[in-house]
């Protein structure tokens, strides 16, 4: 029983490896690029699934956290500090190894914060923002919480769209690679796409491991009890405010980490990442996967994001997401991966085979 929860993890790893081998042998390595992006979007999806499906707190602003992470690293790693080189703090940062120097394609020297520092700052900023907005808005429930998070997402979107430092509608491009101890480089370079692919999925696997353990722990039980009945949870000694804030900040930070690496991978970020439609899409994917089913959400996240990123859904992208959401809600509101669905499919197949025999 205890180890059973890890089995799907092996399935995921096997799929990751097989897909890479398949694409390399068939000479279609370009397929890995979209799957790498899927991995980073999956961070938002599994984080949101934990928040929504298990703890029962809806968020229509999770794209904003992804964007906060992405933009933090984008700004910090592209802001040229050369003019302020002699500033006390800048030279202090430099001597501490917080900065790195590179030459951009135009031959200009750029002194900027290293991606490591950017990652830490992104996590801290996201944590602080989610903590501060979480305290008041997590007092709300259901539709009201959805509205409040929607409002938050819209604010972040408009700030990113209007802020000079965020590149306004163009976003920020020319973001340097994330070099991990010279072993791994998170960048969009075609030559590095296999290692990028594995790096991305490594992060997802680690996150899944963390979340699975969380869900099955004492804390996870408390979160699920909040989903079921906050009043009862409180009466048996669970502090609802504390646990809601914990899961909200955790899921925000996880989304932001996805955003940070995604930004280094694609080398650019635009305000569209924070858009309301993105947030709605994340919620839709979690719903399709079956709210309280982290594996369902991950699988649907991979499939739907992959189709969308490969362009199979064409310009009707958002419309198709809408249709899928409506169909799922009508026919199997507990998600595609509800145990009963598999049972009936299996029964159907077995009855066809064995009745004839």
């Amino acid at each position: 029983m205890n180890k059973k929860k890890y089995y799907p993890l092996f399935g995921l790893m096997a799929f990751i490896i097989l897909f890479q081998l398949f694409s390399s042998f068939s000479g279609k390595e370009f397929l890995l690029i979209q799957l790498t992006m899927c991995a980073y979007y999956s961070m938002v999806i599994i984080a949101l699934c934990t928040l929504m499906g298990y703890a029962g707190q809806i968020s229509l602003g999770h794209a904003a956290f992804f964007a906060i992470g992405g933009y933090t690293t984008a700004v910090l790693t592209t802001l040229n500090l050369i003019p302020d080189k002699d500033n006390f703090f800048i030279s202090l940062f430099n001597s501490l190894g917080f900065l790195s120097l590179r030459v951009n394609p135009y031959g200009i020297e750029i002194l900027h914060f290293s991606p490591w520092i950017a990652l830490v700052v992104a996590v801290v900023i996201t944590y602080v923002i989610s903590f501060i907005i979480g305290i008041p808005i997590l007092k709300l429930k259901g539709h009201y919480l959805a509205m409040a998070t929607l409002g938050f997402g819209t604010i972040i979107y408009r700030v990113l769209l209007g802020g000079k430092i965020f590149g306004e509608a163009d976003g920020i491009s020319d973001i340097p690679e994330f070099n991990i101890f010279n072993l791994l480089k998170i960048n969009g370079d075609n030559a590095d796409r296999i290692e990028n692919y594995y790096a991305a999925w490594f992060i997802v696997v680690i996150s899944m491991l963390l979340l699975i353990n969380l869900i099955h722990s004492r804390v996870g039980r408390a979160l699920r009890s909040l989903h079921g009945n906050e009043h009862a949870a409180n009466s048996i000694g669970v502090n609802p405010a504390r646990y809601k804030l914990f899961v909200f900040t955790l899921s925000a930070v996880m989304a932001a980490v996805g955003g940070v690496f995604m930004t280094h991978f694609s080398g650019s970020i635009g305000p569209g990442e924070a858009g309301v439609l993105k947030s709605v899409r994340y919620v839709a994917i979690v719903a399709v996967g079956g709210m309280a089913n982290i594996w369902g959400a991950l699988i649907m996240g991979i499939i739907l994001n992959y189709l969308s990123l490969r362009g199979y859904l064409g310009s009707y992208d958002e419309a198709i997401f809408g249709v899928i959401l409506v169909l799922i809600m009508l026919f199997t509101p507990d998600g595609i991966f509800k145990a009963g669905n598999f049972g009936s499919i299996k029964n159907f197949i077995f009855s066809k085979i064995f009745k004839k025999a």
Partner: protein, 238 residues
């Protein structure tokens, strides 16, 4: 064990409890009877910290708990079985019980407590992996009681455990309450089913529109004319 002094509380501007004083000694079953809307549930919710008292004092084992958050009160050993059972429908029976021991971090104690519950309610043991929402009303009530016992309480407060149950099941639940008392627990029982509650209780309080109007030994209350008329349906019999 528990003493309440001129307690006032309510919802927003609505004052529900208007100066309640009562006390419970260790090992007793004390019952609070009263009509709908008299403030019985509000009293229990205020004691357990879910609603904040606006004035007055609550002392539990000589600790003032009037301003404590709910989880701290549970930790001190004062546990509520809420009205309408409030089972976690999407959690299994075992998980429902385990969440009851949320305030206990020692897994050894949790394990032994879980076994105690299974001994007390063999029905639950047969259904450990079933979802809470799929249990019958009586089983859910047992689960709710079991869940609150998981926090190793010194005082168990039961809010209308007989609501919506068949007479036979109610008898069963009341037998369990007596058993809990025999095991040395102290019980505060709030009931609309006044006759049944007074039969198993040591003492009783009668609450009317937020005030205690009568307090006595349970058998004395059972014989009291006023109580008989108002709550035990004597008039009706005539």
């Amino acid at each position: 064990m528990l003493s309440v002094k001129s307690l006032e509380s309510g919802y927003g501007k609505l004052r529900v409890l208007k100066g309640i004083s009562m006390q419970i000694d260790p090992g007793e079953i004390v019952t609070i009877i009263g009509a709908n809307g008299a403030g019985k549930t509000t009293l229990l919710n205020t004691i357990s910290g879910i609603i904040k008292a606006t004035s007055g004092e609550i002392e539990f084992n000589r600790t003032k708990i009037s301003n404590f958050p709910a989880e701290k009160i549970v930790k001190l050993g004062c546990s509520l079985v809420p009205e309408g059972r409030q089972i976690f429908n999407t959690l299994t029976v075992k998980e429902n019980l385990l969440i009851g021991s949320h305030t206990i971090k020692n897994s050894q104690i949790v394990k032994s407590e879980l076994n105690n519950i299974y001994n007390l309610f063999p029905v639950l043991k047969d259904r450990i992996n079933q979802l809470g929402g799929t249990l019958s009303g009586g089983e859910q009530q047992m689960l709710a009681i079991g869940r609150s016992l998981m926090s190793k309480p010194k005082l168990i407060m039961l809010d209308e455990p007989s609501t919506g149950l068949a007479p036979l099941i109610i008898k069963n639940i009341f037998e369990i309450i007596i058993k809990l008392k025999e095991q040395g627990n102290t019980i505060l029982l709030v009931e609309q089913n006044a006759k049944a509650a007074l039969r198993i209780a040591d003492r009783g309080y009668v609450i009317e529109t937020g005030q205690i109007v009568l307090e006595d030994k349970a058998d004395a209350l059972l014989r009291n004319d006023e109580v008989q008329n108002a709550y035990l349906g004597k008039e009706y019999k005539k």
